[in-house]
Amino acid sequence: MNSPSDHFELFGLPRRFAVDLPALEKRYRDLQREVHPDRFSTAPVSEQRQSMEMATRVNEAYRTLKTPLLRVRYMLELEGGDVLAETNTAMPREFLMQQMGWREVLEEAAEARNAQRLDALDAQVGAELDATFADVEVALDARDGATSASLVRKLMFLDKLREEIGAAQERLEN
């Protein structure tokens, strides 16, 4: 008998972008109930080792499937695509301009310690992320590797920006 070969199989879910989150969460808990090291504290070392490996894998798979950006990257990888391929990293000019604009807003708002402005920017970038996820879902499910890869790169830019906004918000609070 072979172990489930990919994260979707491990969680008994279809390989699709739209994940049934409650089912994912339930399956995660059910799996950890079986494989977590706490279940093996009286077991021989050989079983403890297996438990640690499997529990680590279940955690990694859960994180990947739960987090939309990680999930799309993973799906692309399963398709044999590579987001980080050196070739074809050029982004549409329009998108780059928008990025630069947002970064300027971020810098100004952070400098001026303007929390409202940061919150507004956060919401704006969040909306753009949501819209891009909708696009990538269509491309992924149509198995359009090239379009998916370029959308995933866009998502990565947006995600990074959002993280920086979060860091700026955190600095304001402290």
């Binding site: 008998m1 072979n2 172990s3 489930p4 491990l10 008994g12 399956r27 808990r29 059910d30 799996l31 950890q32 109930r33 079986e34 494989v35 977590h36 090291p37 706490d38 279940r39 093996f40 504290s41 009286t42 077991a43 021989p44 070392v45 050989s46 079983e47 080792r49 297996q50 438990s51 640690m52 499997m54 529990a55 680590t56 955690n59 990694e60 859960y62 994180r63 979060g166 955190e170 609070e173 402290n174």
Partner: protein, 632 residues
């Protein structure tokens, strides 16, 4: 040999075969031990009926040691040799010691961890903590009817099976390792290090059948933790944790102490007077919890008399910045969990210092709700630890079937060019977790590579805590950039890290259990163990033999149970190999050579490796199958 007890994993052994397990809250100020009796967690009191053991150890010139109240009574008279709050020094160097100028100790800046010179010699904080743990072990053994020293005992009943020791969630790798070393030194089998707020959540959650998002706010004597948990159908999932491992009630004492010093215009104090003033400060701080004013009164060795009235508002004003220091990590933990204040159903208050009204108020304001104070903040951590110990020892019944999922509190990273940190495992990753990274060489013919692992959230290596340095040697000489070195970092369920490295083209492997930069070497631990045995007039060999025999019978027992359950996964030949390894182990256990038993255990482990893997697959499949049955 003992009669073998066959029980399936997860199935509770018969009552008379319950394994004796304890939970220990090793606090900065107070420590406790608890156990589960008839499915109820209880704190074990000392002979005088005290549940708390002051975490104070006094070393005397004749080599004897006082722990707890006896030591506390002497702290102002023999400050140099009476160690309080040793937990603040665990896994820490001299430069990390808070206000050394107000500390009466004669610190020794040892390479691994700061040490203290006493009349009985130089002591590591690990040894001091081990004295506290040993006292609690003896207390528990007496309460549970275990006679210690019956080292030749053949049957496993009437033995302390193991302990769960709690640590602040925000403890880093070095502090955790130091705690584990202390437990080892105290002769305890550590089943798990458990985070204090998580322990509190278990005790609270199981008692109240709580479901939903809860925050645990734990301000003790020397440490502050906050954890956000999701409680759902018996799973306690930590979503984020934060804190400050050097912030607690002690710091409020210190503020008050400094304030009084200024008021009373005192000359520099002797060590003894400092200790006296600090313990008075603590008393006044505690009085101010329920009174609008309190008198700070002390007669110093210089015959000077200190007599200052402190009112609540003054105390709150002088310590407001300390309260504020707890709020930033709390907000960050919420953000890390991706939650808003409104998502939090309840805030569980833990630790003696949360009794202070201005702390209660600040927490209530932040969360927009009255914090939960319906449990004993002193005992809840020990009770939760006892519940986890009971579960880990395999005593749980099916209705006690719950599971804990905890996280790594601080990000792990490695040093890159220019002294920058590259994060490898982000904080709040669920345990166990592992991540791999690929490196290459940057010089032609480079055969070695150094890796520096750090822990912390800052961008510069110098702002993070150095965990370990290790070197990968024997890289085959190649052109720069041709070697592919894959380094894997693993953090286990205790929150402890290990690192493995391998060069992909040659398969050369270097595995390193991370030895913290701030920690004890194996040699030091061996020395301390030897010292402590001499102290107890114990026989090192007999002890080792006993340990291996217990380990061996655990092995035999669990392999038999596994075979009974899943023997069908093996063909006749595989089965015969395992049977042979087990009977060889049993044979060695009848002898007196502890090393021989150890070898036989290792062999048995290797013989059951493939079987263990197949069993794991079967249990994963059983989860998937369960779903299919339910949905079809």
């Amino acid at each position: 040999m003992a009669l073998l007890q066959i029980s399936e994993p997860g199935e509770s052994p018969a009552p008379h075969q319950r394994r004796l397990a304890i939970g220990i809250d090793l606090g900065t100020t107070n420590s406790l031990v608890a156990t589960v009796r008839n499915s109820i967690a209880v704190v074990l009191n000392d002979a005088d009926g005290h549940p708390l053991l002051p975490s104070i150890v006094r070393y005397l010139a004749d080599g004897s040691v006082q722990v707890g109240f006896a030591a506390e009574a002497q702290q102002a008279r023999d400050a140099k040799n009476t160690i309080v709050s040793a937990k603040r020094f665990m896994g820490r160097g001299l430069k990390d010691v808070p206000y050394p100028e107000n500390s009466p100790y004669d610190f020794v800046d040892a390479p691994g961890m700061v040490q203290i010179r006493t009349v009985a010699g130089v002591k590591s904080p690990v040894e001091v903590s081990a004295e506290i743990l040993r006292t609690l072990r003896v207390r528990a053994e007496a309460a549970l009817g275990i006679s210690h020293g019956a080292a030749s005992g053949e049957d496993g009943a009437g033995e302390l099976y193991g302990a769960v020791i709690t640590v602040p969630a925000y403890f880093d790798d070095a502090q955790r390792q130091a705690t584990k070393d202390a437990a080892k030194l105290a002769g305890l089998n550590v089943m798990r290090l458990l985070n204090e707020p998580t322990a509190a959540a278990i005790a609270y959650g199981l008692d109240n059948a709580a479901e939903g998002i809860y925050a645990v706010f734990d301000l003790g004597g020397g440490t502050f933790d906050v954890s956000i948990l999701k409680l759902s159908r018996g799973v306690f999932e930590v979503m984020a944790t934060g804190g400050d491992s050097a912030l607690g009630g002690d710091d409020f004492d210190h503020r008050l102490f400094c304030w009084v010093l200024e008021r009373a215009k005192l000359a520099p104090l002797s060590d003894e007077d400092t200790r006296l003033m600090l313990s008075r400060a603590r008393q006044v701080k505690e009085d101010l919890t329920n009174h609008v004013e309190a008198r700070f009164n002390a007669r110093l060795s210089t015959r000077e008399i200190v007599d200052v009235v402190v009112n609540q508002q003054d105390f709150w004003d002088m310590s407001q910045t300390l309260v504020a220091k707890t709020l930033a990590p709390t907000r960050r933990a919420l953000r890390d969990a991706g939650l808003a204040v409104a998502d939090v159903k309840g805030v569980v208050m833990v630790g003696g210092a949360t009794r202070m009204p201005h702390v209660q108020r600040a927490v209530g304001e932040l969360f927009g709700q009255v914090p939960l104070n319906n449990l004993d903040p002193d005992k809840v951590v020990a009770l939760g630890a006892a519940m986890q110990a009971n579960a880990l020892a395999g005593n749980r019944s099916s209705e006690e079937d719950w599971l804990l999922l905890d996280v790594v509190p601080l990000s792990l990273g490695i040093e890159t060019m220019g002294g920058l940190v590259e994060k490898v495992i982000p904080r709040n990753s669920t345990l166990p977790v592992s991540r791999a990274q690929e490196f290459t060489t940057f010089k032609d013919g480079q055969t070695a590579m150094a890796i520096h692992v750090v822990q912390g959230e800052r961008e510069l290596v110098s702002d993070c805590r150095s965990l370990a340095r290790f070197e990968l040697r024997g890289i085959p000489p190649m052109a720069a950039g041709a070697a592919r070195i894959r380094v894997t970092y693993q953090v286990d369920a205790d929150g402890l890290m290990s690192v493995a490295a391998r060069e992909a083209t040659t398969g050369i492997e270097a595995s390193v259990a991370v030895k913290p930069s701030y920690g004890l070497s194996d040699g030091e631990i061996t020395r301390m163990l030897r010292d402590s045995f001499e102290h107890a007039r114990d026989d090192v060999h007999l002890r080792a033999l006993r340990e291996q025999q217990v380990e061996g019978s655990r092995m035999v027992e669990s392999v038999r149970a596994a075979l009974a359950q899943d023997g069908d996964l093996l063909d006749a030949e595989e089965r015969a190999a395992i049977d042979a390894a087990i009977s060889a182990l049993e044979k060695s256990m009848a002898g007196t050579d502890h090393r021989g038993i150890k070898v036989a255990i290792e062999r048995a482990n290797r013989a059951t490796d493939a079987f263990a893997a197949r069993r794991m697959d079967r249990s994963v499949k059983s989860v998937l199958a369960g779903r299919n049955i339910a949905t079809i």
